[in-house]
């Protein structure tokens, strides 16, 4: 077994441990609620529920059993793929997640690369031209961007572009777009991601006008992406900048210069490669954290993704939904952590001997 493989295996085992720990903790939180409230998790039609039926529900589902019994039961269900019923969305939690994740994905698939590439580029440039114009501009924009409340930026963008200029509406597609996509005679939802589906439909139906869906989706994803990027790119620029400055101060840069290498080679081949190492870890965590930030952005833009669903569930005390969302975020987070650690070991040869 190579050292890299051993490292991966070790991290995987830790991953399982951490995920289990999170589930215990999350479950413990839900146990803070009295049994009466938890009974509602098992009722499909909350409006028509009769208060007298609650004690029966408690009895059937063993809601007063000891902690570890209930946890065991819940974990068992979880492993079988049963996450319960979400009454705010009138679907099982698993259905709710699988129908909504495509919208979240549509935002992330644009936001993540933009944040990473723009952040790295501007960070490197700021470091190279330290205290130059681009450094100052980036710094000021970073600080402003990092200080903006995401929902506020969203509100401003909506009032300008949607209210005043009337260029786009709120939501993943315009009303015509939604109608078109829902019409199975005219449109097939191959992936659920409208940007791709438009292209795919254009190809399979030999109909260029289907691209209109792609354009529509793109127009509606611009504003949420702007909000997310503005706020998160700031952090990446700062970290990349300081990492690059540190790398440029290292002794091997003197050696590189003493070898007669051109400035570009010294900066990009030698310094940047080293500077990217800590940034890679941060980028991974940043992307994983996007999911959290999206809760607000999706709510503001009524985007109908996982974030909006979780926010509404939280407000209406839909415990199963919130629980499901919590598990999902935790798992994504931990997996992202793992990927980042592996990437780190791959990029930096020094780590593998750990």
């Amino acid at each position: 077994m190579t050292s890299l493989t051993a490292y991966i295996v070790r991290r995987l085992l830790l991953l399982v441990l951490v995920v289990l720990g999170v589930t215990v903790l999350i479950f413990a939180i839900t146990m803070l609620f009295p049994a009466e409230i938890r009974a509602y998790m098992y009722i499909r039609n909350v409006e028509q529920a009769r208060p007298e039926a609650i004690p029966r529900v408690i009895q059937i589902y063993g809601l007063n059993d000891p902690f570890y019994v209930q946890y065991g039961r819940w974990l068992g269900n979880l492993l079988q793929g049963n996450l319960g019923w979400s009454y705010t969305s009138s679907q099982s939690v698993v259905e709710a997640i699988s129908s909504r994740w495509v919208y979240t994905f549509q935002i992330v698939m644009f936001a993540a690369p933009i944040i990473i590439f723009v952040g790295i580029y501007l960070g490197v440039q700021s470091a190279i031209h330290r205290n130059g114009l681009i450094d100052h501009i980036c710094r000021v924009l970073s600080i402003i961007g990092w200080s903006l409340p995401s929902f506020w930026l969203g509100l401003i963008l909506i009032s300008v572009f949607s209210g005043q200029l009337r260029w786009v509406s709120i939501g993943p597609l315009s009303q015509e777009g939604i109608n078109h996509v829902a019409n199975t005679a005219l449109f097939t939802r191959y992936t659920g991601v409208s940007v791709f589906d438009g292209i795919l439909n254009a190809i399979t139906r030999a109909d260029i006008s289907q691209l209109g869906i792609t354009l529509d989706a793109l127009a509606h994803v611009v504003l949420p992406v702007i909000v997310i990027v503005t706020i998160d790119v700031a952090l990446l620029i700062r970290v990349m900048r300081s990492s690059m400055l540190e790398a440029l101060n290292k002794q091997y840069i003197t050696t590189a210069k003493a070898k007669g290498l051109s400035k570009n080679v010294v900066i990009y081949k030698h310094a940047r490669r080293n500077a990217l190492i800590p940034v890679a870890t941060l980028s991974g965590m940043l992307v994983a954290g996007l999911l959290g930030g999206l809760v607000i952005t999706e709510t503001v833009f009524a985007y109908g993704g996982l974030g909006a669903w979780a926010a509404r569930a939280a407000l209406s005390t839909d415990i199963t939904a919130v629980l499901g969302y919590a598990i999902l975020t935790a798992v994504i987070f931990v997996i992202a952590n793992l990927i980042v650690d592996i990437l780190y070991a791959y990029i930096d040869p020094r780590i593998r001997l750990d």
């Binding site: 441990l17 999170v22 939180i29 803070l32 409340p149 909506i158 209210g163 926010a311 629980l323």
Partner: protein, 357 residues
């Protein structure tokens, strides 16, 4: 001049030279003035200072927001809540949010991180795994759960508090005069305080507003950041020669930590704390905006913006009433920006590679 004084003077000089840092300080001081002068700037609501007053006279005519006028300097929002009052008293809320959450998180993180790094081994592994679990935790869930599940009041035992304060004082003393007797006294007092909890009945209940519960929630998920930072620093310093020397001369562990390790490791924590104040206020505002934060008429910036959220579906109304969210938003942005500027400047000033070039 004593070396530490000289170092502080050098840092202050660097801060003064940095115009962004000055800008940050000016902004924060301006907000401090607003917070301190709040009762003067916006006469408090007789019922509860943090309840935003509604103009019932205009409300009879229309519940719709009114633009800024002489009567309401920033205008009013839906149901005629006065924006000016909300913004002014919201400043106090913001400070309270930022400082308490960061303060408590800092202490928890400091203690956990130091203990984990200093003693190492299994304790370190265990504490770090626990920290990892907390980091993976979605804060939203916790906030919601605590807001609803937590009781409205928390019991506090006066004698317990008094004893805890006394114990801390003794621990400080212990740091400078390590002696077994003193250690025994401290442990004895600790035991006494735990026992007293059973003998002395609960003294009084502290009411927890919804905002308080949210703050507790944020604190409970916020401390891991500090833990990791301080752990890294302590690990770095732990094996330095001066620590070895101190051990060799018989200092207690606690003494070494307080006198040698902490003075060399807390600076990055200060930077994180300063930046965190801003980001905590943003998180709290976001939670309020979603409706899980402060109660509906509480003087909180995020909360007052929440009243504008119904118009998202009707963007033209949003434009028409833009003052209802733009103005409080400016308060939030400037407040956070002040702390960010300061934290950023501190990061530059405390950068070890630039120290006294």
């Amino acid at each position: 001049m004593r070396p530490r004084v000289k170092e502080w003077k050098f840092m202050l000089m660097r801060i003064r030279q940095n115009s962004l840092a000055l800008a940050g300080l000016v902004i924060i001081l301006a907000f401090v003035c607003i917070a301190v002068l709040a009762p003067v700037l916006a006469p408090p609501n007789p019922a509860d200072a943090f309840k935003i007053p509604r103009d019932m006279e205009i409300n009879v005519l229309t519940p719709n927001p009114t633009p800024p006028t002489m009567r309401h300097i920033f205008g009013t929002t839906d149901q005629q809540y006065d924006l000016y009052y909300a913004c002014i008293w919201g400043t106090i809320t913001a400070f309270r949010t930022g400082l308490t959450v960061v303060g408590v998180s800092l202490i928890i993180g400091l203690l956990m991180g130091t203990v984990a790094a200093y003693y190492g081994g299994l304790l370190d592994e265990a504490l770090m795994r626990f920290t990892d679990i907390i980091i993976a935790f979605p804060g939203l869930v916790l906030a919601m759960a605590l807001v609803i599940a937590f009781p409205a009041t928390v019991p506090i035992n006066i004698s317990m508090i008094a004893l805890i304060i006394f114990i801390l004082a003794m621990l400080m003393l212990l740091a400078f005069h390590p002696s077994r007797k003193l250690l025994l006294v401290v442990w004895g007092l600790l035991l006494l305080s735990i026992l007293s909890m059973f003998y002395f009945p609960v003294s009084f209940q502290i009411p927890l507003s919804r905002l308080d519960k949210v703050l507790i929630a944020i604190t409970l998920v916020g401390w891991p950041g500090y833990t990791r930072v301080i752990r890294g620093e302590v690990l770095r310093v732990k094996n330095e020669d001066f620590v070895e020397a101190s051990k060799a001369s018989g200092s207690s562990d606690f003494g070494i930590v307080v006198r040698h390790i902490w003075p060399n490791t807390v600076y990055p924590l200060l930077i994180v704390a300063t930046l965190d104040i801003g980001s905590i206020v943003l998180s709290a505002a976001a939670l309020s905006f979603l409706g899980i934060g402060a109660s509906p008429d509480y003087a909180d910036w995020g909360q007052i913006i929440q009243r504008s959220s119904p118009w998202i579906n009707r963007p033209t109304e949003l434009v028409a009433n833009f003052h209802t969210f733009v103005i409080p938003g400016i308060f939030i942005t400037l407040f956070v920006m002040g702390w960010n500027l300061l934290g950023d400047a501190l990061r530059d000033v405390l950068d070890p590679t630039l120290r006294r070039r």
